[in-house]
Amino acid sequence: MSQPDVLNQAFELGYTYTRSTGPVIGRFLTELRNRNIVGIKASDGRVVVPPMEYDPNTAEELSEFVEVGQQGEVVSFAWVKEPREAHPMDVPFAWAMIKLDGADVPMIHCVAAASEDAIATGARVQVVWADETIGYMTDIRCFELV
């Protein structure tokens, strides 16, 4: 028997972590489960979605929640023509920075679109909810073009 040059084997490093959320993330995820989206007011007054626990500029704890819209505007996007297995969509889609109505800071999520030509910076998008919402980031299945 000859020795293989390279001895390799596929393996999966995996675990389902149990993450406690604390009050801020917990509130956001609770609202998601109820198909609402809330942001939080940063110390400079900007509304941040999803809500940050601590202000990036002052390091203060944040606590003033603000309900924001379920539609928004694409600030930037990246077109994924070959989705990876781990990606949330298995057909070509866009990752986008989306500024929701009532928010000042864009969030990152995926956008369903027929083709790259269909999406553009400045496009209006709205939330598509998962069939069942459980209080997790993937309750927002994706955004779709309005």
């Binding site: 028997m1 490093l13 993450r19």
Partner: protein, 171 residues
């Protein structure tokens, strides 16, 4: 909140990543031998110590171990523990013994299972031998050696553990 529901405090976050793991050149040479039913060590070119299983270098000298050395099936118990809890993903039933065994011809111990023994009789310096799986089950795996079992040979004095030649006590 729009509905009377419990607030989310805990979420389940699955993190699963796929890798194509490579054994390493020195371990691969070792595993190729053990697939053939041969336990080998690798000798440090600097300090002459024989490592098993080889990991790629002599940790003491920081140099690669190239020369392969065939080791004995016989070994000495350097220390051990009786384990009363199961090993994750391992079917073996507790209590069982895991021992640090040094094969004759090697200068370092590795951890392996012991069986065919009275747990209470196992001791430091005891002589043992490898019990292999049936040939048809051999793979690129350390557990081709199913376990070690005691043999009727005199104890090895503590200061000699890890220093026996491949010929064993008589050597």
């Amino acid at each position: 909140m729009s509905e009377e529901q419990e607030v989310v405090t805990v979420v389940k976050a699955p993190v699963y990543l796929k890798y194509n793991f490579t054994a390493g050149a020195a371990p691969a040479r070792f595993l190729a031998q053990i697939k053939k039913g041969v336990l080998t060590g690798q000798r440090c070119p600097k300090c002459s110590a024989v490592y098993v299983p080889p990991r790629g270098s002599c940790g003491g000298c920081g140099v690669a171990t190239e020369e392969e050395v065939v080791l004995s099936n016989k070994a000495t118990v350097q220390s051990f523990t009786i384990v009363y809890i199961p090993i994750p993903n391992n079917p073996i039933e507790p209590p069982y013994i895991i021992a640090n065994v040094v094969p004759d011809g090697a200068n370092i111990s590795f951890i392996h299972l012991m069986s065919e023994c009275v747990n209470e009789d196992v001791h430091i310096g005891a002589r043992v031998e490898a019990v292999w799986k049936p040939k048809e089950e051999w793979d690129f795996a350390m557990d081709n050696i199913r376990y070690y079992r005691p043999i009727d040979e005199p104890n090895v004095p503590v200061d000699q553990i890890g220093k026996l030649p491949v010929t064993g006590l008589e050597g």
